[in-house]
């Protein structure tokens, strides 16, 4: 049996890596590195749940780790990788509303905000420091994922931002609310569908951009402005 304190230490180190991965998703320009970062982040999450299982001994955590590994580390990145190969876009250079530096500064603000918020909310609950910290990381990861969604231009990066946001929700779930396992499975299925849809859209967009835009305009999905 490994010493729980030692395990907690490891988990905290992993938290730091999760945050770093989130920062990388916000700022990295190369699409393949964004994808790799996401894979690493998901892997870190799987690792966190395994470690937590070692402390708590709840078997759902192990299942969750397995699911995360299968879907978010293997399946989804594989799909997205295939899309990236097809669309031949290697970089996402454009940002809307926020430049990477500002985004990073803002994400520090977001972490502080989550911390203050959760310390108020969980003030009365006797939550151990590790779990509280996990919740803070989870919430900040969610918010940072949202930040990625609106500040980056390419569909792929937006999808990855969404996926990273879901990672944050998962983390919050592991540490605070303990989402029922079935819910987690459903969410993963949703994510896979999202990735599939993204692939269709992105590939469609790339294969003949003009034609596709004309189609979208015809359908009036988004009036005015530039469609994605």
């Amino acid at each position: 049996m490994i010493d729980p304190l030692y395990l907690e230490g490891v988990i905290k180190i992993l938290f730091v890596f999760v945050l770093i991965s989130a920062a990388l998703i916000i700022s990295t320009r190369s699409l393949s590195s964004v994808l790799n970062t996401y894979t690493v982040q998901s892997f870190l999450l799987a690792a966190v749940s395994v470690l937590l299982y070692l402390i708590d001994g709840k078997s759902e955590l192990l299942l969750l780790a397995g699911l995360t590994l299968a879907s978010k580390v293997l399946l989804i990145p594989h799909f997205i990788n295939r899309i990236e190969e097809k669309i031949k876009i290697r970089r996402d250079l454009d940002f809307t509303y926020l430049e990477p530096t500002t985004s990073l500064l803002l994400s520090i603000g977001l972490i502080l905000l989550s911390y203050t918020f959760l310390s108020r909310v969980f003030g009365d609950l006797a939550l151990s420091r590790l779990f509280f910290f996990g919740a803070v990381i989870g919430l900040s990861l969610t918010l940072m994922g949202m930040l990625v969604m609106f500040s980056r231009k390419k569909v792929i990066t937006k999808a990855l931002g969404y996926l990273s946001m879901e990672n944050g929700v998962l983390m919050l779930g592991i540490f605070v609310t303990e989402l029922p396992f079935i819910l987690e499975v459903l969410i993963v299925i949703d994510l896979i569908i999202l990735v599939l849809l993204t692939s269709i859209l992105a590939v469609g967009l790339d294969s003949s951009i003009e034609e596709y835009r004309a189609k979208i305009r015809k359908l009036q999905i988004w009036n005015g402005g530039e469609a994605l």
Binding site: T96, Y97, L110, L113, S114, T116, F117, L118, R120, V121, L143, M146, L147, M149, F150, S151, K153, K158, W222, N223, G224, G225, E226, A227, L228
Partner: protein, 649 residues
């Protein structure tokens, strides 16, 4: 047994709504109006019995939402208003049998028949509603069905504007009602429309103000009255009769329902209601004097009469708050009775106006004249309506206002001298409004029916078909009967107020008229015997022939009064120049008009409307079609939520 009558009426009105939509034919429409006629007979029996016996009726509650029942209830107040509905509907339904057939399109005729029935059904259910939710549901159905009827001829720009105006105002009214009911619900925890029970003083301020505004908008109190003169001319005449005669009273009913539920109304409520009522009565008739569109004139006169009803309600509150229950009862009876009477004579006048407009094809009274020769029956009914509304004895308009005058005259019973002064001021306003209303209807009847026809249309006018005459005859008969038998009616309804017997007065008046007539006839005869008759033309001031342009015109008749109230009819000069260039230096052409300043519209309605439009324009800029922006909004919303719920509070 009594309940069966109501269920029968519901069934009749409901099938009257569905029938013309299912079988789109003339017979279906006829059956539809026939059904509404039958329903009104059933309702007359129902309401009459309840008022006479004083017993209530029991309706089983149907639960349609968890924790909320569909309940109906009836007491003497609602029975009185059911009677009001039942008194107006027969005339309107007979009239509409013929009138509707002259609508432009087949679909329009079917819709008119169906919606009229729905409208009546909704008003009936509002009056019978047992709780706030049922009340609001049918209130909305009532508003929407009448809106569709106002928009029946939606091709004309004017009607579209009228419909929009009405739509906005009626929604505003509903919004205030919602606010009022919700605040009442928070206070009492019950959605029932029953007795409120004792509450802390001051807590009812918000519900009172909201309900007063909400019902005031719907009833057409100044300054929320502007939708009336737009909506009434646009609607078909039968519907105008229903809207003006009944729907405004449904709003009055709602307000009374709230007031009677409150165990101790506050004094300032009464002062507010009395002031609003007096202003409405005065402004209504003053604006009506200047109007030359017959239906719009009648709409303004409705505002005046609603003002009179609210004067009665205000008196009721004041006397109740000052602990004078007998006077309070008299004022309340006066208000309700006047509401009933107004429903009768205003529907009569709208039906007659509809006939006149139908025969001449114009609503401008300057183009009428001489109709007493070409449309004698309609003119006679018109005269009965005018006599009633001008409050001449023994017609019913006099009966209702007499009760209010009696209540006013006893203002000295109040302890507070300031209050007495206020009542005397209100009384003088009320009396002035009464006198002006008499002048107004002398003008309306005189210009419309007497003298020579002022236009070709008027000269060629023909009496309307029989059914339309019978339709107008029903309220006309009711007007006279309700006036003559007012004391008997009131005592049958169990309201023993101090009140003269108008039947006696009517008989006396009749005898005097008969005696005068006979005396004149006898004198004439004896003169004839003395001197032979000579037939020649009346001296025409030396002019060879008399032409219609020499007659008193509508504007000419009201000119002296207009001079007196000059400060109210302010004019505005509007320039509309057009230029050749963008810098506006080369004048192309343009027009200038001097028109009446639409004070309430321009200063009270338009500014908030423009402000809302500006805000909406700014808000609509948020919808820019960019996905990124939408995601940003979601992000900001989440952050704000976190800040508000977690950090700031």
């Amino acid at each position: 047994m009594l309940e069966a009558l109501v269920y029968g009426a519901f069934a009749a009105l409901f099938s009257g709504t569905v029938l013309p939509l299912l079988y789109r034919s003339k017979n279906a429409r006829k059956a539809s109006f026939g059904l509404s006629f039958i329903s009104s007979i059933l309702l007359l029996g129902f309401a009459g019995t309840i008022l006479y016996t004083g017993k209530g009726a029991q309706f089983p509650a149907i639960s349609f939402l968890p924790g909320l029942d569909f309940t109906l209830g009836v007491d003497r107040l609602s029975a009185g208003f059911v009677l009001l509905i039942a008194a107006v509907v027969p005339g309107v339904s007979i009239y509409s049998l013929e009138y509707t057939e002259h609508a432009k399109s087949e679909a329009g005729k079917d819709l008119q028949a169906a919606l009229t029935n729905l409208f009546i059904l909704a008003m009936l259910l509002v009056v019978l509603a047992g709780n706030m939710v049922v009340f609001l549901i049918f209130w909305e159905i009532m508003s929407l069905s009448s809106l569709l009827l106002v928009l029946h001829d939606y091709s004309s720009e004017e009607n579209k504007k009228a419909g929009f105006f009405y739509f906005v105002m009626t929604n505003l009214s509903t919004a205030f009602l919602f606010l009022g009911f919700i605040s009442l619900f928070r206070l009492t925890g019950s959605a029932e429309l029953g007795q409120l029970g004792p509450v802390e003083p001051g807590t009812l301020t918000l519900p009172f103000l909201c309900l007063f505004t909400g019902f005031g908008i719907k009833a057409g109190l100044v300054p929320f009255h502007k939708w009336l003169p737009y909506a009434h001319p646009a609607a078909p005449s039968g519907v105008s009769a229903l809207m003006s005669g009944v729907m405004l009273k449904v709003a009055v009913y709602g307000f009374l329902r709230f007031l009677l539920a409150v165990s101790s109304p506050e004094l300032w409520w009464g002062i507010l209601v009395l002031t609003a009522g007096s202003l409405s009565a005065l402004f209504g008739v003053i604006y009506a004097l200047k109007e030359s569109d017959i239906k719009r004139l009648l709409a303004y006169s409705s505002i005046e009469n609603i003002g009179i009803i609210f004067i009665g309600i205000g008196l009721y509150i004041i006397f109740e708050a000052e602990g004078l229950p007998a006077l309070a009862l008299m004022s309340l009876t006066g208000a309700c009775f006047h509401a009933f009477n107004h429903a009768l004579f205003k529907s009569l006048l709208f039906l007659c106006a509809g006939s006149v407009v139908h025969a001449t094809g114009t609503r401008n009274i300057e183009a009428f004249g001489g109709l007493v020769k070409s449309m004698p029956v309609t003119s006679a009914f018109f005269l009965i309506g005018s006599v009633s509304i001008a409050a001449l004895p023994p017609a019913n308009g006099f009966a209702g206002e007499l009760l209010l005058y009696q209540a006013f005259f006893q203002a000295s019973a109040l302890n507070d001298p300031l209050l007495t002064v206020l009542l005397v001021i209100a009384l003088s306003g009320f009396a002035l409004a009464g006198a002006l209303a008499a002048a107004l209807f002398v003008k309306l009847f005189g210009i419309t029916c007497l003298a020579l026809p002022r236009s070709e249309e008027s000269r060629l006018a023909k009496e309307v078909p029989k059914l339309m005459l019978i339709g107008a005859a029903v309220p006309a008969a009711f007007c006279i009967l309700a006036g003559l038998f007012s004391k008997q009616l009131l005592s049958l309804a169990g309201l023993d107020v101090e009140y003269p017997d108008l039947l006696l007065l009517g008989l006396l008046l009749g005898l005097i008229y008969a005696a005068l007539f006979l005396a004149v006839r006898a004198k004439e005869k004896s003169e004839k015997e003395k001197r032979p008759a000579r037939t020649s033309e009346t001296w025409g001031c030396g002019a060879p022939t008399l032409t219609p342009s020499m007659e008193y015109s509508s504007a000419g008749f009201s000119e002296p009064l207009v001079m007196i109230f000059k400060s109210i009819y302010r004019t505005r000069i509007v320039h509309r120049p057009k230029y050749f260039d963008g810098q506006e230096s080369l004048l192309k052409n343009g027009n200038v008009e001097i028109r009446l300043l639409r004070f309430f519209e321009e200063y009270l309605y338009i500014p908030p409307a423009l402000a809302i439009e500006n805000i909406s324009k700014r808000v609509s800029r948020l919808q820019n079609g960019k996905l990124d922006s939408y995601l940003l909004y979601a992000f900001l919303a989440v952050i704000t939520l976190i800040l508000v719920t977690g950090v700031l509070i």
